[in-house]
Symmetry: C2
Subunit: 120 residues, 2 copies
Amino acid sequence: MEKQEDLERCESVHIHQDLVAQVNAGMPDEEILYDLAELFKLFADSTRIKILYVLFASELCVCDIAQLLNMSQSAISHQLRALKQAKLVRYRREGKQVFYSLADGHVRTILGQGMEHVAE
Amino acid sequence: MEKQEDLERCESVHIHQDLVAQVNAGMPDEEILYDLAELFKLFADSTRIKILYVLFASELCVCDIAQLLNMSQSAISHQLRALKQAKLVRYRREGKQVFYSLADGHVRTILGQGMEHVAE
DNA sequence: ATTATATATGAACAATAGCTCATATGTTTA
DNA sequence: TAAACATATGAGCTATTGTTCATATATAAT
């Protein structure tokens, strides 16, 4: 944890020197925080938000999602790929079609809390 | 809600035609979903995640945050601006320094749920 | 008033991300 | 096997974003 090298600092080395150490101790690992940001990136696009929202209501095939969002099959497929990789959605093949559904309860909570914040 | 114009559709107009209508009914407004994505964009960068995390522990001035994250004052200030605009952080001037703190309980919940998902 | 310190901000640049287009893969039906 | 349909994916283009650098603003101290 050698972070104290050649940093620019407030000249007035105010109170917070030990606070700084304490805060640092409570921080999750760099890698975890990076993964966390990666996760939230998936919620950071309105197309993906919409996809998650429609899957809220029901399992749907790619084609139906594309119709619902009035977007191309390709665009939706690309985004589903990202959501799939992050395990936010599951998929199930049925003949030619592939049905997607929400994989996780966290999705609901995260979107819900976001909604609450936005709706104020 | 004229969305049914010249869409590409699954040829096999399968079951979901009414489902599609139903799902559409339950969708929040376009604008809200856009705002929601904008909100999550703020969680979609590890610098901002770190800022929120350190503010978790304590109110801090810009300079201390910069030191904690080992980043430039300018970079932190830019990001605080974004967080401030979204009302995720509050600020309070005290002499030359400006102290930032979390503005909202939602931040904790959202980060917490994200953590749970990542940590599995 | 002048200087120093703390923070904010605009411009520029590199990196990233989302869409389209073309095409590949997988599945069913004729 | 060939054709049709549903989905997946790579390349390319444009738009967006995070950082740095230079500089502006705000407050305090001399």
